[in-house]
Amino acid sequence: MTADSFFLEIPAVAVYLGTARSFSSQIARHAGFDEPTVEDVKLAVSEACAGSVGPLGSNGRVVVRSSLEPRLVAFEVEGTGDFAADGSQEGPARIDLIRTLFPDTSFARHEGLTTVRFTLPLGG
């Protein structure tokens, strides 16, 4: 069975975070998750994207990918951010928050790109 795949690319600026949230929440709803889980997905994807955004005028891009596989849904966010800004905000670290929501979250840094990936099992 081939997985259904979804792809969103946005400029790496904060004003587009809402677009990434809408995209990921619609996929999570389509996959049949309940609203609390949809909210968790939305928050995790938004935090992952926020880790890569810069000031208005930045020319970086953030890519959100999702795939619906037979037994799970995977979300992947790729951007140039290194989550370095985490230490400068007074709130919790974005990475910690994502991991709290989805403990299987992985972070990979390769050739200047950070990839955040987490999955949700289908069918409870």
């Binding site: 904060a14 004003v15 975070l17 809402g18 949230r21 609390p36 909210e39 968790d40 939305k42 928050l43 938004s46 935090e47 926020a50 955004v53 905000q89 007074e90 709130g91 919790p92 670290a93 974005r94 928050l97 709290t100 929501l101």
Partner: protein
């Protein structure tokens, strides 16, 4: 009291930070932030609230949050900040004491 409506994220948090800062700079020491109409709150928004709490405490002030359910309360809970903030489930109790 400060009513917040909509989404608080990396994009909107600076405006909230400025608004709270202006209130504190203007002499407000007992601040109630109503989050009941907030549909989304991320770590940037939490950072603003933590900063507000810290600044108010420096002036022997008080920060109370009104939040009764949903994703906003959950993000406060999973981060452990429900133990840091005074969270009220209704506006009446937040403004009463």
């Amino acid at each position: 009291m400060l009513d917040i409506v909509g989404e608080v994220d990396l994009y909107t948090a600076p405006a909230l930070r400025d608004r709270i800062a202006s209130l504190i700079d203007g002499g407000v020491r007992r601040l109630v932030v109503n989050l009941e109409e907030v549909g989304f709150l991320d770590s940037s928004g939490l950072g603003v609230l933590i900063g507000a709490l810290r600044r108010l405490k420096e002036h022997d002030g008080v920060l109370r949050l009104v939040c009764n359910e949903g994703s906003t309360l959950k993000v406060l809970t999973v981060t452990g900040l429900d133990k840091v903030f005074q969270i009220h489930t209704d506006l009446g109790s937040a403004t009463a004491s």
